[in-house]
């Protein structure tokens, strides 16, 4: 049985709400990453991490504070799925940048990113969350929040 840990950081509460929707589906609790240390990841085989993007492509400040913890962490053997909230209309040049930055840090810490999702249907200029795989453009699993909360959950990749 896979141990799943759900962690988020949230300013407006939207990312928190989405984390809670995921948690309800999986019958789990959510965890706010603010002020935590990397020990919180230890017990889990699969991590689901959620983040919005701040200002023009910056990491959300609680995740930003967590960066030294990630640098010290050893996530080898762990699978990590990411979900990000963003606004492609007002921030087309930095859509989901923070989710991309978080993914980079996860990989550097030895974690394996899972649950990637295509960018079809989204319209933005630039995103650091986009990874090219062969000739197709993939996008990390995400949930887009425009004015009202539109949640798109694909859980097919769960073991």
């Amino acid at each position: 049985m896979t141990n799943i840990g759900i962690f988020f950081a949230s300013d407006t509460g939207n990312t928190e709400k989405v984390a809670e929707k995921i948690a309800t589906r999986l019958e789990l609790e959510t965890n706010d990453i603010a002020g935590r240390s990397n020990e919180v990841f230890e017990d889990f085989d699969l991590l689901i991490l959620g983040t919005p993007t701040a200002n023009y492509g910056e990491m959300q400040p609680d995740w930003d504070c967590f960066v030294p913890e990630l640098e010290d962490a050893d996530l080898s053997g762990k699978k990590v799925a990411l979900f990000g909230l963003g606004d492609q209309v007002d921030y087309p040049d930095s859509f989901q940048d923070a989710m991309g930055d978080l993914a980079d840090l996860i990989v550097e810490a030895g974690g394996e990113i899972v649950g990637q999702w295509p960018t079809d249907g989204y319209e933005f200029n630039d995103s650091r969350a986009v990874r090219m795989i062969n000739l197709s453009v993939w996008h990390l699993m995400k949930i887009v929040n425009l004015n009202s909360l539109t949640t798109v959950l694909r859980l097919g990749w769960l073991p």
């Binding site: 407006t12 701040a54 023009y56 910056e58 930003d64 209309v89 425009l146 004015n147």
Partner: protein, 522 residues
Amino acid sequence: MSAFPVDGCWPTATSQWEKRNIAQEVPVWEEDLCTQCNICTLVCPHAAIRAKTVSPDALELAPEEFKSAEYKQRDFKGQQYTLQVSPQDCTGCNLCTTACPASDKADPSRKAINMAPKQPVLESQSKNYEFFLDLPELERIDIKRIDARTSQLLQPLFEYSGACSGCGETSYVKLLTQLFGDRLLVANATGCSSIYGGNLPTTPYAVDKHGRGPAWANSLFEDNAEFGLGMRLALNSKRDNALGGLLETTADFLPAELVEQIKQDAFDSSEAAVTRQRQNLSRMRAELPYSHRQLNERADDLVAKSNWIVGGDGWAYDIGFGGLDHVLAGSDNVNVLVMDTQGYSNTGGQQSKATPTGAVAKFATQGKTSNGKDLALNMMMHGNVYIAKIALGANMNQTIKALQEAEAYPGPSLVIAYSPCITHGFDMAEGVEHQQLLVETGLWPLFRFDPRRTDKGRAALQMDSKAPKKDVEELISREARFTQILRRNPEQYQANLERLRQQVAHKHLLLEQLGQWKPEKK
């Protein structure tokens, strides 16, 4: 006889009376669209647009046209949020409205703030602003996490200076006062910042409701680093005097744990320690008898101060460099903020060593032939200096982080802040986007260098910007200081462009290598 004291001091919080009224248009808030990101207040050079969060009852007697909205973020849930412009202090620079990211999805030309003619709204907005100023201010200790957004909920203690409309320097100074203002000492080099910082008889530096605010002085041009070091040494001396000579004699009157706490907190400039120390000292003052009045008078010397050495690149790279080098080579706890406009702005835009290749400046009318100096890399070689290269418009949270880390670093710190200036020759309203582009071309990489990271087996250098992804020409074609050459001498322009491209590529490689340099993990 002069009304001013003989020692040259003069009162602060006086620019608020000037009310220059120079804006033709001022920003008007559409609270329904606002995401309350506070970017507008962050970038405002004159502290003429401000944000506050207050409890709903505080707004009961608000003027009719006063606007507020439900606070959107989790940290002050249940409170109200308000954004207000001072129409008489605003210079109409348009930085706020241009930087605002929130627009009406149905009509993108309508943003959360839009410029509107000032005259029709002058009276109502002035009244609103007066009410706004009287609303309660947050204490820094009430904010769980101070970042770019939450820093703007704090009262700026630097306001309505005479700096140019759209100035890129002043938002850094304002930020410094929001983060450390009530215990801030500034040694200011001659230059734009000394003129707008102290154009007698008024000054834009202000005080909070406790009557505390920045102390500021300008000595000369060449001596500013040493001047600031002198302030640090004086602060240390006064603190040690209060600790050693005076505190030692209070054993009969003060509980041992209070004395211990005072001794410890005297060396800690964090918000928690400063707040606690002020409480400690209140207790101390209440307990000490008349015989110990000297200690009571000097009690404030026991509150850790934040001392900053501030100036432009003309001072830091050129005229005052010898002194700066001397100060950074030491081990004293000083913080240097260089506001880099890449030239001597105040005197009309003469070239400095910071001016980049190809830029036109006085004494470089054909475009500067030599390279721009890299002060940050130079100073890294000292080994003991915390160094950060920042650009507010390109990365707002990194700016706040760098200032906080520099302040907390127990040794010499150097923060080099890119400052858009009218000498660059582009529309200053586009300052924020301009800085983003600047960083994306690699012309101004963002990073932090913390020597303590090597203790943990990590490289001291941390890049905060990504590899260059846009061509240099995208940026320089927007600045008249470069494009002047294109018109006069297109071959020279191309040659300059090529050199800049090479410099960017070379610098990027060098930074990558430096980022790899770390000791073996033990």
